[in-house]
């Protein structure tokens, strides 16, 4: 990440602390990360079922299970016109990688998206860039590249249809979807 390389460690800590505290204006409201539990520290256990022991929960290793486990961290977000992976995104991608390494046979598609405030063709290419950035990061975390494909939807599939800065921030995203 080019813009971070210029900061020294102390400044970096300060900046990221400030960022966490202020909740970067351009970011959508974030869910709190899941409580650390056995699934986070081991690499081979199956995820614990839904806390209500009466319900079965989604089948282990399914896309539904992926979504339930990741609790929003299946999606990372980007600044306007940017495709770099920021700090909250690295945490999300680590969580994605952990789940994927639990189910080594699973493949995944990473969708890249943009907000509506750009031209159509450039946004198709930018969505591809974002998906690729997420893919590269997952590969760097040890996920085999052959398991991952990318697809760009440009600005064609917004998550939030409003024409507001808040909606646009939600739409600038890369979503990882496992293949059942």
């Amino acid at each position: 990440m080019p813009h971070l390389s210029r900061l020294n460690t102390a400044t970096f800590a300060l900046v990221s602390a400030a960022a966490l505290l202020s909740g970067c204006a351009s970011k959508p409201p974030k869910q709190l990360p899941p409580e650390p539990g056995p699934a986070a520290t081991t690499t081979t256990t199956t995820p614990s079922p839904d806390s209500t022991s009466l319900q079965a929960g989604p089948p282990a290793g399914s896309q539904a299970d992926f979504r339930a486990s990741l609790m929003g961290q299946d999606t990372i977000h980007f600044e306007l016109d940017k495709y770099n992976i920021d700090e909250p995104s690295t945490a999300a991608l680590r969580a994605q990688a952990q789940w994927l390494q639990r189910y080594p046979a699973k493949k995944a598609t990473i969708e890249g998206h943009c907000d509506e405030r750009g031209t159509r063709e450039y946004n198709l290419a930018l969505g591809e860039r974002r998906a690729n950035a997420a893919k590269n990061y997952l590969v760097s975390l040890g996920v085999d590249a052959s398991r991952l494909t990318t697809v760009s939807y440009g600005k064609e599939r917004p998550l939030d249809t409003a024409s507001t800065e808040e909606a646009w921030a939600k739409n600038r995203r890369a979503v990882t979807i496992t293949v059942d």
Partner: protein, 462 residues
């Protein structure tokens, strides 16, 4: 599209195109008015001062026939066709803000004998300065012969005349050819009415639009959907001969560009690759297709023969290089690139050499399109809102044509006088096709059956 036009070469009863050449070929206005001086809009050189010919009263009565008989045309008999053709011509001129046309509904009918010998006193008394007369007759094989004549009422002089033979399904083309004849003769500009538009028809909710490839005449008639909507279609371009359309489809789950054969109703990939491909474009001679391909996140521009085969890579920088529009002589390409940090407009030679940036206005510059006249580049300027703008081929003389929340993707009319684009409505996301004259005047919506985007305009049809 069964267009079999047979140029009339020999006939003693119909005014020959050849005789039109013996008439003065200068536009009606004096030459001085055409050598334009810059006005408040910053117009220079490339756009003529049109105030002199724009205010001409022009009467367009129904075309006459010497034999009112049924035809195979949707408009009915030869007499009914005569009415319909005059209406199409009137609408062409009126919708484009050209002259002061009066259509057949408000005018007396014209007997067939007067087509080549108008009763000028009648028309002069009505205040007409220019007059169109025309004829409709059945021809061999169910075809139609349409004659079209333009007269200067004050001078009692024929300014232009031409005739065409069309199949009954193509009668509107005769009207557009006549409108083109009138327009070209009076303004000195090149024709553009007899052309078609490819675009994307949109329906459905904003977060899951159904997008279908569609085509229509330049006035919105003869509309036809090409794809079913099952797979999203985007950014189409007609080939210069109208036989093919290149466009982007998610047919196989990810974006790829295809060449669709309109007559055969079949398509093939432009580039045999698993990488995503975008932004297809034709060269003016129809021999090449430009496209953009993303490899490991970087997008570059390639060129491939329209027949298929191996591709030649034209740009090679990290980042996004996309789009591409040829100069009319095919020697240069204008495209967009973010190699400098943000979307900007660049020009290169057609072989990829000499790449240099030309947009330096602040904000971002995107979707550049070279005017068919060679003198201007239309593009989308992004600085807060997205606006349609033009600039010289060296990036000078930025001039805005629109001023709305989101206007993008301009393409040119075949004669380089009108810029067509699509407008997105804030919030609802509704899209529509609009046109605006190069002077910035007469911004108007092109009617379509449903929402519409990504319009592209083909050349004047032969």
């Amino acid at each position: 599209m069964n267009s079999r036009i047979i140029a009339l070469l020999l006939s003693s009863t119909i005014c020959l195109p050849a005789s039109a050449q013996t008439l003065a070929t200068q536009p009606v206005v004096p030459q001085a008015a055409k050598a334009a001086a810059p006005d408040a809009n910053g117009l220079t050189g490339s756009v003529s001062d049109d105030s002199a010919w724009q205010s001409l009263n022009i009467d367009i009565p129904a075309f006459a026939t010497d034999n009112d008989v049924p035809t195979g045309a949707s408009a009915g008999s030869t007499a009914q066709l005569g009415q319909a053709i005059a209406q199409v011509i009137t609408a062409d001129l009126k919708n484009n803000g050209l002259f002061k046309p009066v259509g057949p509904g408000a005018l007396p009918s014209v007997p067939f004998e007067q087509i080549s010998a108008p009763d000028f006193t009648v028309w002069s008394a009505r205040g007409a300065e220019m007059l169109v007369h025309g004829s409709v007759q059945n021809a061999e094989g169910g075809r139609l012969t349409v004659g079209c004549y333009l007269y200067d009422v004050g001078l009692h002089q024929k300014l232009a005349g031409a005739s065409w033979i069309f199949g009954p399904g193509e009668w509107r083309r005769a009207a557009h050819k006549c409108a083109d004849t009138v327009y070209a003769r009076l303004s000195g500009e090149s024709p553009f009415f007899d052309s078609r538009i490819a675009y994307i028809a949109e329906t459905g909710p904003k977060d899951h639009r159904m997008k279908r490839l569609a085509i229509m005449d330049s006035d919105g008639a003869n509309h036809r959907f090409i794809t079913s909507g099952q797979a999203m279609a985007l950014t189409p371009r007609y080939s210069p001969d109208y036989r093919k359309i290149v466009y982007l489809s998610y047919l196989n789950g990810s974006p790829r560009i295809y060449v669709y054969d309109v007559e055969a109703n079949s398509q093939r990939l432009v580039a045999e690759t698993r990488n995503p491909t975008f932004a297809p474009r034709w060269s003016p001679d129809g021999k090449w297709i430009l496209y953009s391909m993303a490899v490991a996140g970087n997008t570059n521009i390639y060129r491939v023969s329209a027949q298929g085969g191996s591709s030649e890579q034209l740009t090679n920088t990290p980042g996004i290089n996309i789009g591409g529009s040829f100069s009319p002589d095919g020697s240069k390409v204008v495209f967009e690139s973010d190699r400098g940090g943000s979307q900007q407009v660049y020009v290169m030679n057609a072989d990829g050499t000499g790449q240099h940036r030309i947009s330096f206005f602040g904000g971002r510059a995107a979707t550049p399109e070279w005017s068919p006249r060679g003198d201007l580049i239309a593009f989308t300027h992004i600085a807060g809102n997205l606006r349609i703008a033009v600039m010289g081929t060296d990036g000078s003389g930025l001039r805005y044509l629109t001023n709305s929340w989101q206007d993008e993707a301009p393409t040119w009319s075949p004669n380089g006088r009108i810029v067509q684009f699509f407008r997105t409505e804030k919030g609802s996301g509704h899209t529509s096709i609009w046109q605006v004259d190069l002077t910035g005047r007469n911004e108007r919506r092109l009617p379509t059956p449903v929402d519409a985007s990504d319009p592209s305009w083909g050349p004047v049809r032969q």
